[in-house]
């Protein structure tokens, strides 16, 4: 059994409510931090823990906190990024829905460390019922004196509110999120200045993922060193993994970083193996943006080491033979999946979600989708495969925010590892007319059709 830090109390009946949460040791970290630690000591503990941002980028949380501009004298803000929209990711929702006070406790302790007196939780609009859960939980926390003026009789005051988005993946990008919080279109800002200097209403701001903030109470209650003792190397602590696709037990799992991918996939404690015992074809280990891995690179890295659930091991081999841990959206595909169709699906998503501000992403994501749609529907040309490669390489790195990269990577990885499937679509348009074309006839059975002919 892996160690549980975030979900250890999830099965206690009534843990959603303030009373039960408090009876089970809730809000202890606020007491400890406010009464016995200075804000800098809290930051220091988080630094020691090695906790890395759980939203996808994996940037060290303590380091991010230390960048916040405390000299300007302007009000500071902590904003929790609960705009979870990365396809394959649904862990934050689980946390907020079933143990909302953990996030609120984390927000108070973290706001204290940053010296923020007005903080927000930005939740995606589609999670409206979770928005209401958080609103009620915040009211409970106010009523119990954990929020408001002079918390626990100290001179630390904090107002916390929950703000809802309205359907825009791009608002998960921290500067777009800030724009949206200001009541504007979710257009990412040009950086620098970074939010740590000029964020919400031009005030110094830190934006952290739900899971990152929810890990803070444990770190403060125990210690940064205790947290760092879990995991391997620079991948410390536990991570929530959202598992979906063709597996027996989809859902949210808390794992100790360092667990092997094979164990995670096949043990009954976790995913329980493939649905209907069909063969594994591909894996997207960290949400739709990260490169897809073909079957032979999932359990072992290119040089034959065991693939582990860590930031480092999943990216072992770079983009050529590796991927990324990302946000922990673990999507498993079996042999009935069409990679071309799936790539088109992702491209449609990014096309739909591009904010339209900068030209490579605005024009390029639409172009990718249109070309992929043609190939998937039997109107592809051989040169389209190279065209796709070229378009994605021209979007990547040339955009304002990482959405451009996120749109480019899945296309690049699909062509890199599954080029023959694209060729099959171009050469045998009759065979792919039905959208379930690989259900009756998985690609393995028709692969020989596109084998290079020897003269």
């Amino acid at each position: 059994m892996g160690r549980k830090i975030l979900l250890d109390k999830i099965n206690i009946p009534g843990i959603k409510t303030y009373e039960v949460y408090r009876q089970n040791g809730g809000y202890a970290s606020v007491e400890k931090a406010l009464k016995t630690l200075t804000p800098d000591e809290v930051t220091e503990e988080v630094k020691t823990s090695g906790l890395r941002g759980r939203g996808g980028a994996g940037f060290p949380v303590g380091l991010k906190w230390s960048f916040i501009d405390k000299k300007s004298g302007k009000p500071r803000h902590l904003v929790c990024n609960a705009d979870e929209s990365e396809p394959g990711t649904f862990k934050d929702r689980f946390l907020m829905e079933y143990i909302p006070h953990l996030l609120i406790e984390g927000m108070i302790t973290s706001s204290y460390a940053l010296g923020a007196n007005l903080s927000y939780i930005y939740i995606r609009g589609e999670y409206m019922w979770v928005f209401k859960i958080l609103e009620r939980a915040i009211k409970e926390a106010y009523a119990a004196g954990w929020l408001g003026k002079n918390i626990l009789g100290t001179d630390f005051s904090l107002d916390l509110h929950v703000h809802c988005g309205a359907g825009a993946y791009i608002c998960g990008e921290e500067t777009a999120l800030i724009e949206s919080l200001e009541g504007k279109r979710g257009n990412p800002r040009i950086k620098p200045p970074f939010p740590a200097v000029s964020g919400l209403w031009a005030n110094p701001t830190v934006v952290n993922n739900v899971e990152s903030i929810a890990a803070v109470p444990w770190i403060i209650n125990n210690s940064g060193a205790d947290y760092a003792a879990i995991g391997i190397g620079r991948s410390t602590g536990t991570k929530l993994i959202s598992a979906s696709g063709h597996i027996k037990n989809p859902g949210v799992y808390e794992i100790e970083l360092g667990l092997s991918v094979e164990e995670f996939m096949n043990s009954d404690e976790y995913l329980g193996g493939m649905m209907n015992d069909r063969p594994l074809k591909a894996l997207v280990p960290g949400g739709s943006s990260v490169p897809i891995l073909p079957a032979h690179l999932i359990y072992k890295t290119a040089n034959g080491d065991d693939r582990l659930m860590t930031y480092e091991s999943l990216s072992d081999g770079g983009f050529a033979t590796g991927s990324m841990l990302g946000s922990g959206g673990f999507i498993v595909y079996n042999d009935t999946t069409c990679i071309v169709r799936n790539t088109w699906n992702f491209s449609r998503f990014y096309h739909h979600e591009s904010c339209g501000q900068c030209s490579p992403c605005r024009e390029g994501t639409g172009w990718l989708e249109k070309v992929l749609h043609r190939i998937e529907n039997g109107h592809g040309r051989m040169e389209d495969i190279d065209l796709l490669w070229d378009i994605q390489s021209k979007i990547e790195g040339n955009t304002i925010c990482p959405l451009g990269d996120a749109a480019a990577w899945p296309v690049a990885a699909a062509i890199r590892h599954f080029r023959d499937e694209f060729e099959y679509h171009v050469r045998f348009p009759e065979k792919i007319k039905n959208r379930d074309h690989f259900v009756e006839e998985p690609f393995e059975k028709v692969r020989h059709l596109i084998a290079k002919q020897t003269v």
């Binding site: 209401k132 703000h163 200001e182 696709g245 169709r341």
Partner: protein, 176 residues
């Protein structure tokens, strides 16, 4: 651009205004505009789930901003509807994780059952079916959103039940 063929009765009730003021109170006094997104949700919920230009103008007036600032925002975010839609909007997630678990087939089934195409509303104004992008329920696929709630692990039978319950008025759309 203008949708003049649809008329909407604007009714900002005292209860709605109280809620709007509560939301505005979450932001500093000089940052009323920040309340725009949450306020639009409330206003839309109270107006048959869509926002006409006059209604957006009203929101602009309440928040003391230019109408265009509201139009820009409303048209950016997918959850605001700019024309009337069915009382029950079935929003099927069709992104990868749901798609590989049969979301497309299920959406086709629902459309067929209701006699409409994706994006259309039934003539009686009861149902709209739309395909949307990832709703964050990948592990509980296939799924759809109806009002404020998610209906997960869907099957044809469950869709049938939900449609029947909608017709009987048993489905709650909002959690007020």
């Amino acid at each position: 651009m203008e949708n003049t063929q649809y008329k909407q009765e604007i009714n900002i009730t005292p209860e709605l205004m109280t809620r709007i003021n509560e939301l505005i109170g979450h932001y500093p006094d000089d940052k009323r505009k920040s309340a725009l997104l949450p306020v639009l949700h409330e206003v839309q919920d109270a107006h048959e789930n869509w926002l006409s230009y006059p209604l957006m103008d009203k929101v602009a007036e309440i928040l003391n901003i230019q109408p265009i600032e509201v139009y820009e925002v409303v048209s950016f975010y997918t959850m605001y509807n700019q024309k009337p839609i069915g009382k029950y909007m079935f929003e099927f997630c069709r992104t990868s994780c749901c798609a590989v678990r049969g979301a497309e087939d299920l959406m086709d089934y629902t459309c067929e059952k209701l006699g409409i195409k994706e994006g259309e509303t039934t003539p009686d104004g009861m149902f709209t079916v739309v395909g949307v992008e990832c709703l964050g329920a990948c592990g509980y696929a296939p799924m759809m959103q109806v009002g404020d709630f998610y209906k997960e692990h869907l099957t044809k039978e469950k869709v049938d039940t939900i449609i029947a319950e909608c017709r009987e008025g048993k489905i709650n759309l909002h959690d007020k």
